[in-house]
Amino acid sequence: MKASDITAVTKTVTKKWAKQIKREERNSRAALNRREYLYSDRVCQSDVAWPAIKKAYWKASSGGTLPAHARQIYYAAREEIRAATGREVDSKYFTQNLLPRCMNEHAETAGWLVAYDPRGNFIEPHTAKTLPIGTIAVAEYLDEIGAHESTDIAIESVALTYPTCGPTNRISAVLFIEKEGFHPLFKAVKLAERYDLAIMSTKGQSTVAARRLVDNLCAENGGIQLLVLHDFDKWGLSIAENLTEVSWQAEESNRVRYEFQNKINVIDLGLRLEDVKKWNLEAERVRFKGSVQSSATKEEREFLKSNRRVELNAFTSGDFIKWIEGKLKKHGIKKVVPDDAVLEQAYRRSLQGALVNAQIRALADEAQQAASEAKVPKNLAAKIRRGLSENSGRRWDQVLADMAEQWVEKNQD
């Protein structure tokens, strides 16, 4: 236990008293004002924040009909808070502290859709679909996964591969990396494809959206594994924990912005001192402040307290991939092969598709012949413009496709 903490709490609680008594020592008349001085009328920003935030959300979200960004709410609320307290409210304090705290304390905010800036991306293998890690995008992606069904093949679709959405039968694990810059390297070595990995990153510490995504995809009961790569520094050591559970500091100060529904199936693959030694990685100087995550060994703590850190960037590209692959193999991360039932269904489905494709090819030749002989409608551009003017939300090729359909219906017999 640190003596500095005993000193700090003692000085904090006696601060006003000490100031007042020292004033009284200098001027005995000051004793008459002891009450006023000790108990000031200063208004706390947190005491007046809720009514201001409630109004501000209503304003920023157009009466609750649209999502509102946290900073939009800040701009709408700050004047009222300033009027009530006489002080300017700091934007970071507002978005990261006051707003989440008010939302936790008032049940009526449950339906609010408050957006924070996307930070980083989530990339699916094979589809190469890139999902920005933002409140709205993640909500939509999760809705899409929830609504997805493996439907029978459509005649128009001749893909023989098995359609998936989300991790089921496709993703072996989520590889979270605290840095953004490695995606070109991963792409070059086909890391995602070779291990069926979804690669995810955030800029710095994880966001609410990142935690929600992890909570839904990587639950210990039935989810896929979350693998976490991080630097060897005090922040890096806490990334896996911060991404997978509510920090006690947030709980203590009622700043929890996301409550996990599941225990997360996480493996911390991050850089540790033994890796630094083994791979002979260079440290960089950094001013150490605060305390080290308690999972660090004594030697690691001493290393970090000596104002040093080692970034993942210290690896050469080749070594970095070797290092990661070593860890993936150690933890049994392999390409996905679905179970027998899924494989049987997929095989029959592909066979069906292949047979359809064979017929489609024959039909396609005939169709191509018919299409080449057909007359192109006169004033095609004008007809398309007319179609677009009837519905400006459509695209030109959709109108064109309708016209082709109509031609087929008319000439089929």
Binding site: M1, K2, A3, S4, D5, I6, T7, A8, V9, T10, K11, T12, V13, T14, K15, K16, W17, A18, I21, K22, E25, R35, L38, Y39, W248, Q249, E251, E252, S253, K289, G290, S291, S294, S295, K298, R301
Partner: protein
């Protein structure tokens, strides 16, 4: 013979004879609250002080006979409980023996300890064989109505001075019912501070005191208050190699007495995070200690240090460190209620908390301060200082290391001196509270600077 003279008991307890009433209260109330918590019962403690003794009663499960027999066995110096690195109040392994010997030392003719638990009254009289100098324990039992809980009474012959005032046998100046002065607080004053400390540091405690004619009562403010209980498994992260060896040694000795020999895996099950068999298997596989007996980790020259070090490292690797909030916090609301009872303007109370982790050990420090207001002019400071929910007789934060600076120095700088009409409380919860002395008057603190999470 380490317990049967005033000099020896002063060494064991760390306090002079006139302070022993406070030692008795401190040890017995600590044990009583711990026992209730272990049984998941919100503690209700009654203290009675009269001319012929001090009685502490609780509503716990009742002290088992085996524990009483253990206390009376002077061949065993300490209890196994002391070996754990845990957040319990007591943890001075020989406190029970001190209390058994104390009646003989203060009143060799009439002194005795009476324990009532589980429907049996144990009347214990300890003396010393004048020839062999060995303790002679006269332990008599009789069946009584079981009213639940445990009652412990330390008894001596009542006596009075020329004015008819009760005198306790703890020294000439120890008039139990006398109010003292600022410079020289009486035993009564110090006991009242101790009781207030218990009520302030334990939101779930209901405490009722009868001190001769005077009554003091504190109702619990939160019967469902949560904290790290004394019987909860301890975390491997709280142990250093020496602690683990001591605990393992204690288990091996206990197994020998019972003609048993537990496995390393069974030993691991005692720890937080390793109670599940899958986690234990990870540790035993990693250390190559699957099916190994605990006793095999030691030979005649002591423990195999490399094996023990590997075992501890693996235990720590496969269990999660405990976060500070899990230890439990007293909270501002409870401080407000108690300070209000003391006559302070509690709605203006100043409160601060620091939760931190130092060398892998989590801890929470809380402090509260309030002024008595204009009405309190002439009153003097009440200082409540404690650790692990137990108030200490003397301020345990008196020294912060080599600088010699301590809490008193800081309070003096902050003009919160003993003559001021204020109440100041400070409490620390920490799994490895270590004192520099037996009287628990000086905590071992780390004077190294580092950050923490602050809330005020």
């Amino acid at each position: 013979m380490d317990f049967f003279s005033a000099r020896e008991l002063v060494t064991q307890t760390g306090y002079a004879v006139d302070m022993w009433p406070l030692v008795i209260i401190n040890e017995l109330v600590d044990n009583a609250i711990d026992a209730c918590e272990e049984a998941d019962v919100p503690p209700t403690i009654t203290v009675l002080a009269d001319a012929a003794g001090i009685t502490i009663a609780d509503n716990g499960p009742g002290l088992p006979e085996s524990t009483i027999e253990g206390i009376l066995d002077f061949n065993v110096r300490t209890s196994s409980r002391e070996m754990y690195v845990a957040l319990d109040r007591g943890a001075q392994g020989n406190a029970g023996k001190c209390l058994v010997a104390m009646p003989y030392v203060i009143d060799p003719e009439h002194g005795r300890l009476v324990i009532v638990a589980k429907g049996i009254e144990h009347a214990i009289v300890c003396k010393v064989d004048a020839i062999t100098q060995q303790p002679l324990v006269d332990h008599r039992t009789r069946h009584v109505t079981d009213e639940g809980g445990t009652t412990v009474r330390m008894e001596w012959a009542p006596s009075k001075d020329a004015d008819g005032k009760a005198i306790w046998p703890f020294g000439a100046d120890c008039f139990p019912e006398t109010k003292g002065s600022m410079l020289r607080p009486s035993i009564r004053d110090l006991a009242m501070v101790l009781f207030t400390g218990y009520a302030t540091f334990n939101p779930h405690l209901s405490l009722s005191v009868r001190w001769f004619g005077e009554r003091l009562k504190f109702a619990a403010t939160n019967l469902t208050w949560e904290k790290w209980k004394p019987n909860k498994p301890t975390s491997p992260h709280w142990y250093e190699l020496r602690h683990l060896e001591r605990l393992a040694g204690c288990y091996i000795a206990l197994d020998r007495q019972r003609d048993e020999d537990r496995t390393v895996a069974a030993f691991l099950a005692e720890f937080d995070g390793l109670t599940g068999s899958a986690k234990r298997k990870l540790v035993t596989d990693e250390t190559g200690l699957d099916r190994t007996k605990l006793s095999e980790l030691a030979d005649q020259s002591g423990f195999k240090r490399d094996v023990m070090a590997r075992l501890l490292a693996s235990m720590q690797k496969h269990s999660r460190p405990i976060k500070p909030p899990r230890l439990g916090t007293i909270g501002k609301d409870h401080f407000c209620t108690r300070f209000e009872q003391l006559g302070c303007e509690a709605d203006k109370l100043q409160y601060a908390k620091r939760a931190n982790i130092d060398n892998g050990l989590p801890y929470v420090v809380e402090s509260a301060f309030a002024w008595y207001g204009e009405q309190g002019e002439g009153r003097r400071r009440v200082l409540l200082a404690g650790a692990n929910w137990s108030p200490r007789i003397a301020n345990p934060f008196r020294s912060f290391g080599s600088s010699g600076e301590g809490l008193d120095t800081i309070l003096s700088e902050q003009r919160a001196t003993a003559d001021k009409p204020i109440v100041f409380a400070i409490h620390a919860a920490h799994p490895r509270i270590e004192y520099t002395d037996r009287g628990k008057t000086a905590l071992v603190l780390n004077s190294e600077e580092e950050g923490a999470d602050d809330e005020s």
